[in-house]
């Protein structure tokens, strides 16, 4: 009987052949802790009377509120640095970037590995067929103390993306379509196994990260993209790291990329996905381009392409926060940053920014934000009634110029929209 990708990876780590439904205890390759969870993580380790069993396998990233916004946060971050030094664990400090982006850049998530993160979007590592999954502070502390974790081997949903995206349509749109089809709990406890075929294998590592990142919004335990395309030249992919032809899936879905159009996820749920056209014209107060979903160089390029020679609408703020220091450096070097600044963007320190409503662009009551992030829950970015529309960097950039939700293709016409003409 064939195995899925998740079964393959967990079998390797368990040292025996395992199947969906079994409980396994596996060795983990990397334990990732973010700043906002670090305090609970230290507390749990203390309760266990334990220190990290393999310090080199524990990485802490200061990204969720960086630089510190208040004294509580500054104190917590100080403790992180001291603790990291004391125990010989890696700490990536303020400005290095968002945890998931940094772990990928640093090669800490490798094909066939297992990475546990204290952050739900740890599914992102699946972009390179690394079993990335999110857990809470206690699980993470147990993993650091023991070097292991317990997991139920997940059933798998096979999602096949075929063909090529039309110009102006992004991996984000493909990811939103996937969440729409699966729904917010359609893949709960499961592995979303992503197959890219008939041209789709040309998707970059960054685009695969966007897909894997969003799988958790369908409830997934992990989102594993079958290695192909550029992944094969960036990484050494072991021969065994492919699902078997006879693998058993709980469900199979096929999405034809060539038929997709730009999409948005409408408040207050991620699976509430609609076409940009259906919400076009809605007045926008803030546009946020960044996050672990879409803050990479290629995302800034896509935004810059739309923004070049244009200006952000007068009543709209455009916030751009590169996902990492590496992205910021590259965007500076190749001129992308200047294009963004000339269009009127404000640039923030690499990190999570206002994604979870703590600092650097929190929303006021009643405000509307178009964001390239991954969650539009009530109150996520600030006031409870502020609205977040999730979209691709291109749609976000176009909306910043138009001052209303818009696709780049509509720009020539919408950029002349006066507020009165749209009835707002």
């Amino acid at each position: 009987m064939g195995q899925t990708l998740a079964e393959k990876i967990l079998s390797r780590h368990a040292g025996r052949e395992v199947r969906a439904g079994e409980l396994v205890v596996v060795e983990v390759d990397q334990v990732m802790v973010v700043d906002s969870i670090a305090g609970s993580f230290f507390k749990r380790l203390a309760e266990l009377n334990a220190t990290p069993r393999f310090p080199e396998k524990v990485t802490i990233v200061i990204d969720h509120v960086a630089p510190a916004a208040n004294i509580e946060v500054a104190t917590a971050q100080k403790e992180i640095r001291e603790w990291g030094n004391k125990h010989g664990c890696r700490v990536f400090d303020v400005g290095r970037g968002i945890c998931h982006q940094v772990l990928m850049e640093e090669g800490l998530s490798q094909p066939g590995g297992i990475v546990l993160g204290s952050d739900s979007h740890s599914t992102t590592y699946g972009a390179v067929a690394c079993f990335g999954t999110g857990m809470g502070a206690t699980d993470i502390a147990l993993a650091a103390a023991s070097g292991r974790t317990w997991l139920r081997v997940p059933e798998s949903v096979k999602v096949t993306f075929k063909g090529k995206l039309a110009p102006g349509v992004a991996a984000k749109d493909a990811a939103l379509e996937m969440v729409r089809v699966l729904t917010a709990d359609g893949a709960t406890y499961m592995s979303v196994e992503i197959h890219l075929v008939d041209g789709a294998e040309s998707m970059t590592r960054g685009e695969r990260m966007t897909l894997a990142n969003l799988t958790v919004e369908a409830g997934a335990k992990c989102g594993l993209v079958v290695p192909s395309g550029e992944i094969l030249s960036i990484y050494q992919v072991p021969d065994w790291l492919y699902p078997d032809a006879g693998a058993i899936y709980a469900r199979k879905i096929e999405i034809d990329l060539s038929t997709l159009t730009p999409l948005v996820s409408v408040p207050f749920f991620v699976d509430n996905v609609q076409t940009v056209d259906s919400v076009a014209g809605k007045k926008v107060d803030q546009v946020f381009i960044g996050t672990c979903t879409n803050g990479r160089l290629e995302d800034l390029h896509a935004a810059a392409e739309v923004l070049k020679g244009r200006k952000v609408a007068q009543h709209t703020r455009l916030l751009v926060i590169p996902a990492s220091s590496q992205v910021l450096e590259q965007a500076t070097e190749d001129g992308t940053l200047l294009t963004l600044l000339q269009a009127g963007a404000t640039i923030g320190t690499p990190g999570c920014g206002p994604c979870m409503g703590r600092h650097q662009g929190v929303l006021a009551p009643g405000e509307v934000c178009v964001s390239t992030s991954n969650r539009n829950f009530k109150g996520r970015m600030g006031a409870a009634d502020a609205e977040i529309y999730l979209a691709s960097p291109r749609v976000a950039a176009a909306s910043a110029v138009a001052g209303v939700i818009a696709a780049p293709e509509d720009l020539e016409t919408t950029s002349s929209y006066g507020l009165n003409e749209t009835g707002l």
């Binding site: 409980l23 205890v25 700043d35 906002s36 969870i37 305090g39 609970s40 749990r44 309760e47 266990l48 009377n49 969720h64 509120v65 916004a69 208040n70 509580e72 946060v73 917590a76 993160g117 204290s118 952050d119 739900s120 740890s122 999110g134 857990m135 809470g136 502070a137 206690t138 699980d139 502390a141 147990l142 103390a145 023991s146 292991r148 317990w150 917010a184 709990d185 709960t188 406890y189 409830g219 335990k221 749920f269 979870m356 409503g357 703590r358 929190v362 969650r375 829950f377 009530k378 109150g379 996520r380 600030g382 409870a384």
Partner: protein, 166 residues
């Protein structure tokens, strides 16, 4: 008498404890006061230890923040009855020693404000002279919860429930 606090489907961790009220932001001793701050501002003050949370589908979706269920535990929550759970939240509940019951029928039968009694060991909820039976959590988790939590279990045995001795 403990009461039922009933919520609908898709209660996410941003609902349970908005990110801006994380212990990391407001201090370790205060964060529970912001439980359900956006959705049900009267909750944190009104909730009494032993009260029961009754929720719909996909309960606890979203962020991995363990401090969301921890806020509920600090307010005195010992069990949730839901139609279904998101996975990270489910693990967090078990790790914190909050019993996650799954039972669509019981959720359907209970109303917000109902006065109820939960008989833990037998997995029963009583409302007046009505008795509802709850499905027990998987054996693996019961083993851990029997010793308080997985954390307690690991501390005692240096292995996970179900794991062969090392």
């Amino acid at each position: 008498m403990p009461r039922v606090w009933k919520f609908g489907d898709s209660i996410n961790t941003d609902d349970i404890l908005p990110g801006k009220y994380a212990p990391f932001m407001v201090g370790e001793d205060k964060f529970q006061a912001f439980a359900f701050a956006h959705l049900r501002p009267e909750f944190a003050e009104g909730f009494k230890p032993g009260d029961l949370l009754v929720c719909g589908r996909n309960t606890g979706l979203g962020s991995s923040r363990e401090y969301a269920p921890e806020a509920l535990r600090k307010l005195g929550l010992k069990a949730i009855i839901a139609k279904s759970y998101a996975r990270i939240f489910y693990r967090n509940l078990v790790n914190l020693g909050i019993m996650p019951f799954e039972s669509a029928e019981v959720v359907g039968a209970l109303n917000d404000g109902d006065e109820v009694e939960l008989v833990f060991e037998q997995g029963l909820v009583k409302r007046g002279n009505q008795v509802f039976k709850l499905n027990p959590p998987p054996a693996f988790l019961l083993q851990a919860l029997g010793e308080g939590s997985i954390l307690e279990y690991y501390k005692r045995h240096a292995r996970f429930p179900g794991e062969a001795g090392r």
